[in-house]
């Protein structure tokens, strides 16, 4: 495939996720404005950090003056998943120069990473594909979050349009793309229950850590009795 075909495939894959992120960006900007952040500050945070979940959690924690240590710790915890995500996707990125690799990974997010993982099942992931996904997705997040901060007050209660639920619906749809039968069902159940419990008992950001670790543990346990797996790894 030519780089143009690769770029077209990237755009085709990312646009539904980018569209689904529009109300999320507006919602984020509106919430940040409610905490006293200026539109320029919202733009700066989005361009520098570019991590939806961590930015929402940060806004929830925001006070004046900003609690820098708490914000950095919360961000590190919520984004710790990126370590395993980049370890998983990096070997599948084909033909990237060092600059493309370190530049491209700066804007790796759940959505574009998930789509690249899906792409990697059938095609090599080229720089043209990766950047065609990244650029519109990043521009969309910058535009909508900044716009949300500007018109935040005018939007009124985002719950009226169900915009607060778009994030949840989007992540459920993305989870379905990774469905591998019984093991995934146990993973989802364990991650969901552990995260909800941790959220109730310890509050954010611990729910992400607890849910992710319990989901992994459930997959580990559920995969143990898969036929054939025990023969492949007799050491276990």
């Amino acid at each position: 495939m030519s780089w143009k075909d690769e770029a077209r495939a990237g755009l085709n894959d990312i646009w539904p996720a980018a569209l689904a992120a529009v109300p999320i960006g507006l919602l984020f900007g509106a919430l940040a404005a409610g905490k006293g952040l200026s539109p320029f500050e919202v733009f700066l945070m989005s361009v520098l950090v570019f991590a939806g979940g961590a930015q929402f959690a940060a806004v929830e924690l925001w006070t004046h003056p900003a609690p820098i240590l708490a914000l950095v710790f919360s961000t590190a915890l919520i984004n710790a998943r990126h370590i395993l995500m980049s370890a998983s996707i990096a070997p599948k990125l084909k033909g990237f120069s060092t600059a493309q690799l370190f530049g491209g990974l700066y804007y790796m997010a759940d959505e574009n990473w998930a789509l690249a993982e899906k792409r990697a099942r059938s095609h090599p992931v080229t720089p043209a594909y990766w950047f065609a996904m990244i650029v519109p997705f990043v521009l969309g997040w910058l535009t909508t979050s900044t716009t949300g901060a500007i018109i935040g007050a005018a939007l009124g209660d985002p719950k009226r349009y169900g915009a607060d639920f778009a994030f949840t619906a989007l992540f459920i749809a993305l989870t379905a793309a990774f469905w591998k039968g019984r093991v995934t069902a146990w993973t989802v159940a364990a991650a969901g229950i552990a995260s909800a419990l941790a959220y109730k008992l310890a509050g954010p950001p611990w729910h992400v850590l607890a849910g992710a670790l319990c989901g992994l543990a459930a997959a580990w346990i559920a995969a143990g009795d898969l036929p054939g797996k025990a023969i492949e790894s007799p050491a276990e």
């Binding site: 539904p16 569209l19 689904a20 200026s38 320029f40 500050e41 945070m45 520098l48 950090v49 570019f50 979940g53 961590a54 940060a58 900003a66 820098i68 914000l71 950095v72 961000t75 590190a76 919520i78 984004n79 998943r81 395993l84 980049s86 990096a90 990974l105 759940d110 998930a114 993982e117 349009y161 169900g162 639920f165 994030f167 949840t168 619906a169 989007l170 992540f171 459920i172 749809a173 993305l174 989870t175 093991v183 993973t187 989802v188 991650a191 969901g192 995260s195 909800a196 992400v208 607890a210 849910g211 989901g215 992994l216 459930a218 997959a219 580990w220 995969a223 143990g224 790894s233 276990e236």
Partner: protein, 99 residues
């Protein structure tokens, strides 16, 4: 164009720690020699993280969000990404009007 210097410091700290997580995986590539079982756990990272992030919204907000999340789960077996989002948002709005 107001910018609080302490806010800027917070943004830079958040950005640095986030970028470190995004490139740290590069150091792990090739050092991971995964058993079949570890591979299953590794494959479970995406659904685990995605569900862990949204579980409070889906399970700990109220019954109608939980119902809408279940509707999304059903819709996800048949519809593309944006269809699931549309169904989820419409369900939440409808339930909130009724409830």
């Amino acid at each position: 164009m107001s910018l609080d210097p302490i806010n800027l410091a917070a943004f830079l700290g958040m950005a640095l720690v986030t970028y470190l997580t995004r490139i740290a995986g590069l150091a792990l590539v090739g050092r991971l020699n995964l058993s079949a079982r570890a591979q299953a756990a590794f494959d479970a990272i995406p659904p685990s993280v995605l569900i862990a992030v949204i579980a409070p919204s889906a399970l700990a907000t109220g019954w109608l969000e939980t119902v809408a999340a279940l509707v999304c789960g059903l819709a996800a077996t048949r519809l593309p990404l944006l269809g699931v989002v549309a169904v989820g948002v419409a369900t939440v709005v409808a339930l909130r009007m009724v409830a």
